[in-house]
């Protein structure tokens, strides 16, 4: 036979487990990746006034979008990522109530835009790497 103190601690543990089972918490993590990462560092590979459209196609592959301007074409490369995290605390058995929900959604893209002149030589480019700003949670 245990002492009263031991019995009380058993009851406390039982109540804690029952409470934990009643108040269910759940965590959902989502990841979405669309497209391919931009393969090379444009700063290393592109030389203004020298790199041609053919070079760009062999270095970076086909662009996701081509736009024509009066003074030359524009190639656009995009890599999209989305991270989502959700934490919810709910009681699903009796009241079916959600007490707390925390949701965090982050979307970001890597963008490379290359401007060509009429002869198909790189005139300028812009590169923005947004996906490295995404956090895990």
């Amino acid at each position: 036979m245990g002492s009263t103190k031991e019995r009380m601690s058993c009851v406390r543990a039982f109540v804690s487990i029952a409470l934990f089972m009643t108040l269910t918490w759940g965590c959902t993590i989502g990841r979405v990746y669309i497209g391919s990462e931009i393969q090379n560092d444009p700063k290393e590979k592109i030389q203004l006034g020298l790199t041609t459209k053919s070079d760009i196609l062999s270095i970076f592959g086909p662009p996701d979008r081509i736009t024509s301007q009066f003074d030359g074409d524009i190639f656009v490369y995009t890599y999209f990522r989305k991270n989502s995290t959700q934490l919810a605390i709910r009681e699903p058995y009796i009241t079916n109530t959600t007490f707390f929900t925390y949701t965090r959604i982050q979307e970001n893209k890597d963008h490379l835009v290359i401007l060509f002149d009429k002869d198909g030589v790189v005139k300028n480019y812009g590169y923005q790497r947004g996906t490295q700003d995404l956090t895990t949670f």
């Binding site: 269910t24 497209g35 970076f60 996701d64 081509i66």
Partner: protein, 126 residues
């Protein structure tokens, strides 16, 4: 208490692009007719794929991805999407990846290949 579930989904769209034929493309030699006979009708001549519509929904591209208002660019795209999810009571993890094989061929005024680009994005799903 820890009931587990696993979801795996695969999505394929468009005709596969023959890598053997890509090796035969020679700028200045290969004609537009040959490209069309090897790879079929270019997708930028057809309606946008579901994948491209999703991209527009997600605001990844504001315009149709294959909408090139030029007759001298031929575009071919094969898309593959993989979805996998682990569903537990206390923890869920969902991951979706969409990758593309993409071939773009630029044709000169004599209907011969000027230059081309190919990227096999679906290899990243392995």
């Amino acid at each position: 208490m820890l009931l587990t579930g696993c979801i795996i989904g695969r999505y394929y769209e468009g005709p596969k692009i023959s890598e053997e034929k890509i090796k035969e493309i020679k700028p200045g030699v290969t004609t537009k007719e040959e490209i069309i006979s090897w790879f079929g009708p270019p997708q930028n001549y057809l309606s946008p794929t579901i994948f491209n519509q999703i991209l527009r929904e997600l605001d990844v591209t504001r315009e149709p991805i294959n909408y090139y208002p030029f007759a001298n660019i031929l575009s071919y795209q094969f898309n593959q999407g993989n979805v996998r999810a682990v569903v537990l009571i206390l923890f869920n993890y969902v991951e979706g990846k969409v990758k593309s094989d993409h071939l773009v061929v630029f044709v000169d005024e004599y209907d011969r290949v000027k230059y081309y680009g190919f990227y096999k994005g679906t290899d990243e799903l392995r």
